[in-house]
Symmetry: C2
């Protein structure tokens, strides 16, 4: 299924590509911003087939033209033939050339002969004797390159023409002299230097027409559905926050993922990926510094411990296996096995048929578990400190990336509480706030029934207004709302020693103290209608029969959600490297 | 299947436990060292059933005796009743008590009242008025505790007796005064202090009879099979390296895994886990410092890219999904997507029905991929540097742990080449060495046929003798021995720009330069008999059609193998947290 989607999408893209000029230009191709207003399926299929044929025709014509041009060029006298072309094993730059990286470019390079390896992200002929290029090395690091015919003949007219027509997003190696531009270059991140190109070879060519241009890739995604039906929430959000239409077309998430290479090359996706890397490192570094030991829980497990719904099953050498929905069982075995504090970073799986911008079938879990000395709030405060530190790290290290993401996906800055002013409400206090200050429909919410998602959002809005924070904790959830292993508050058995954390009104962490006694666990199982002898559950409870297990608590964070909600992205799929949804397993 | 194995094993353990005394003692229980020489299956089953019954009887008798004793104690006058017993919510220690951790214990604590939370790992009555305990806080950190009847009556005879009979491996909270022992304590890691216990409460009780004692858990595993048939290699190794039989019985891997809590509490497993943590961190830190960005490849994929054999498949919302056998495709997409250097740490899956101490169906892959500037050896040398750094880190930070592991699993120290003397042979040089100096049967090995495992081992032995190293590289593998995506050496098309790394004569890393051009890939596919239009392959090749992809190379390391072979362990299963084999998915 996923595959046929891919094929359809590719032909759609080809058809769209064909509609625009086949010559490389920044804004060509992939203009699928108008989806949903298109023709019927049949007509579309027919149109596609036709478009495909014509695209093929156009392409062949372009190839022929290129060949003719090449022959003509070869026939004319060209003293620069060794200075451009396709790179081969024998291609040599001048011996005195220095390899540079743009972020380290400085005054010491002025007038020097350098080597740059980069993508051609834009090009423009200035008459027949000069061409300007934008050469992108990595992320947003790009520099202007100029190539101009010279008197000595080492740069010929043919060379300039050839360079000016290199397909965009080809990877090239450039030999050039570093010079000061007449005035600072506005279109590239490197503004005070430019490269006067003396040689240019194509190392790896891009196709004549890109499936999605870089400019399109850097626009906000128009639709996050895996089908053609729009996901209302996402679209609404984008409409509300007002992306002004301009000349560059935007594309759907489907196109972005089918054109994954260009999707990833966009500045906005590079920035999101960089932010994600920092979140993960900050999580790990914070815990390592506090004596937590990392471990790897298994993905393949022998029993579906959470009852079998929403769990992927597979055949395993004649037996049944399942994909773990959470590493919790294994974190607890680590504690039972004598570790004081553990954490894990790894994939977790949910076989939930939810096609929303908030859900994925595989995501990265950041999980921790720790022995409690006197009170489970010790662990809750570590988790809080860990998240506050992540926000601090992002502000310190990723200001540029955050700004860049906001320029494409506008959002309010993420409000973080000041030290000493963290918001930690009990569930009952939260419900009280909703009853007293929330919308009409929440006048009668109970302290002992779980909150709905709209309720959570309403409460989040109240808290943001009242406490000026987008990050807060709800503590002491009612026993009704928690699984059998949640430890009851010994002082008030109607609530449990458990908590949820929220970012921008959405839950990103769930955790609490776990029961550490086998008979208490069995009893709670029965109260909850779970058979303590059922597969998965029995093995879980048996762990606490093997030896004395100290009291412990923990929590699990969804990495993708932390990134997405911190940045106020319209979909968690933008924060994942390779989002997995019920309808998509590629790329 | 996995489950019935579990049940059988539990009853076996119970039967064995019953054979020894039901009173807690360090060397009781789980004496399954004699497996393989046992009775027939039927007889064993019968014996088990009988043993089970008797064990149950003995247990009930012990419970009755304990109850009687408790009642008797309560009847006698006991002024210490508030100073011992089961911890409850109301249990209070003295207000002036300081929580300690053993590794920070110092002179400043002498004479102070402290709190320690620990496992009782051993206990011994000294007459009726004094008891000695070994209290283990974490890993190998244990201290001697003494409790003795005092004149004031705050420690009573009943209290001493009760403390002396706390089930081993119960988790307790202790209030005590820190004192100097008369002479250094030999049996615990803390030798210069002991705790004079004034209060002791059981926080979480262990069972009266452990499924496996700590002493047994700390012995070398006798058999790594998941069935009752021994895995010859592992057993042979242990026999050769001569574990002297002593009074503490050793257990099979099956028992260890069924008694995972005690398995993990053993000093040797804690040390292996600590070493594993350091390997992982060293890998990550080294690469982060060199500009590598971490990313998460997906586990769920839409097509079995390596041909469908050895790959786990599952139903995915009516379609088919597979579990990734390697993150390579995704590392390459990251490079195509503009990242210069990436790495990943995560699970990879192999549906290979190999029941050997070298194989697992799920293991942790350490993978990296990087753009090549001039030559793929740039990446090979990063990988080499990364591994050499791991060895250095282990020597510096884990000397104690390595020594501890060697005391249980004897091995020669791992030989690392000096800087500048790294061994990097071409495949052809390796074969030449085998032909000229290897065993008779390798007189005619070819430079263009892949090596067998025995051949690798023979070559490794030669290299160890000649170059004094357990770590080396074979470079330039013949095209025959590599997959279609391996880049041929442009100067000699019979070999590829690819390498394997070895530790103690076994491969731990495979890598090389990948073809970065779609048409070259298609052509190589056909040469290798792979259809470039087949599912998985087509999507792979299409990536190189989306835009120009720079030359790149990489490699993948098996974390479990690095740990196991560095330590010379008899099985990779000892290096994994939760080994997955064709016959085992629990715990």
């Amino acid at each position: 299924m996923a595959e046929s989607t891919t094929k359809d999408e590719i032909s759609l893209v080809e058809a769209q590509a064909q509609a625009s000029t086949p010559a490389p230009a920044a804004d060509a191709a992939a203009a699928d911003g108008e989806e949903g207003a298109g023709p019927s399926k049949k007509a579309a299929k027919k149109a596609e087939a036709k478009a495909k044929k014509e695209a093929e025709k156009a392409r062949r014509a372009a190839e022929r033209a290129a060949q003719l041009a090449a022959t003509a060029a070869a026939q004319a006298e060209d003293h620069a033939v060794d200075n451009y072309g396709q790179e081969t094993h024998d291609t040599k730059l001048s011996p005195d050339v220095t390899l540079i990286s743009l972020k380290n470019l400085g005054e010491e390079h002025l007038g020097k002969k350098v080597e740059l390896r980069a993508w051609v992200q834009n090009s423009r002929m200035q008459g027949a004797k000069m061409a300007f290029l934008e050469l992108r090395e990595e992320g947003t690091w790009a520099i202007q390159g100029v190539v101009a015919v010279n008197a000595e003949g080492t740069v010929s007219k043919q060379m300039v023409k050839w360079i000016g027509s290199v397909n965009l997003e080809s990877f090239v190696v450039v030999e050039a002299t570093v010079e000061k531009p007449l005035e600072p270059v506005k279109s590239t991140r490197v503004q005070n230097y430019e490269l006067h190109i003396t040689k240019l070879f194509v190392v790896a060519a891009a196709p004549p027409v890109l499936g999605m241009t870089l400019a399109t890739a850097n626009k906000a995604v128009t639709n996050f559905s895996d089908e053609d039906t729009p996901v209302e929430e996402a679209v609404e959000k984008l409409t509300i926050e007002g992306q002004q239409p301009d000349t560059v077309p935007a594309a759907t998430m489907m196109t972005h993922l089918n054109q994954i290479v260009m999707h990833k090359r966009s500045a906005v996706q590079t920035a999101i990926a960089d932010i994600r890397v920092e979140v993960k490192h900050a999580f790990r570094d914070y815990l390592r510094a506090r004596g937590f030991k990392e471990f790897e829980p298994p993905c393949l497990i022998g029993a579906a411990s959470e009852g079998g719904s929403n769990v992927f099953g597979l055949k395993y050498f004649g037996a049944d296996a399942f994909l773990a929905q959470s590493p919790q069982f294994y974190k607890q075995i680590e504690i039972a096995g004598g570790r004081k504090r553990v954490f894990s970073v790894g994939p977790v799986f949910r076989a939930e048929n939810s096609n929303t911008p908030r859900h994925m079938t595989e995501f990265t879990g950041l999980d921790l578990e720790a022995e409690i000395v006197h009170d489970y709030h010790e662990v809750m405060l570590i988790l809080e400190g860990c998240l506050l530190n992540i926000f601090k790290v992002l502000e310190e290290r990723c200001a540029r990336e955050i700004e860049l993401v906001r320029s494409v996906y506008p959002s309010e800055p993420f409000l973080v509480p000041k030290e000493g002013e963290e918001v930690r409400l009990t569930f009952a206090e939260g419900q009280k706030l909703l009853r007293e200050e929330g919308p009409e429909e929440y006048r009668n919410v109970s302290d002992f029934e779980d909150m709905s998602t709209p309720q959570e959002k309403a409460l989040g809005a109240l808290i943001r207004k009242k406490y000026k924070t987008d990050f807060y904790i709800l503590d002491k959830f009612p026993a009704e709302a928690r699984p059998f292993y949640a430890k009851e508050d010994p002082a008030d058995r109607k609530v449990t020693n458990s908590y949820d954390f929220f970012m921008r009104q959405q839950e990103i962490l769930s955790g609490g103290q776990r029961i550490n006694d086998a008979s208490e666990l069995s009893e709670r199982c029965r109260t909850k209608g779970v058979d303590p002898e059922s597969p998965g559950i029995k093995e879980y409870i048996d762990i606490f029969r093997q030896a004395g297990v100290p009291p412990h608590a923990g929590g699990g964070i969804g990495l993708d959600r932390v990134v997405a909600w911190y940045l106020g992205l319209p979909s968690v799929h933008l924060a994942a490297y390779y989002p997995r949804t019920p309808k998509r397993l590629t790329p």
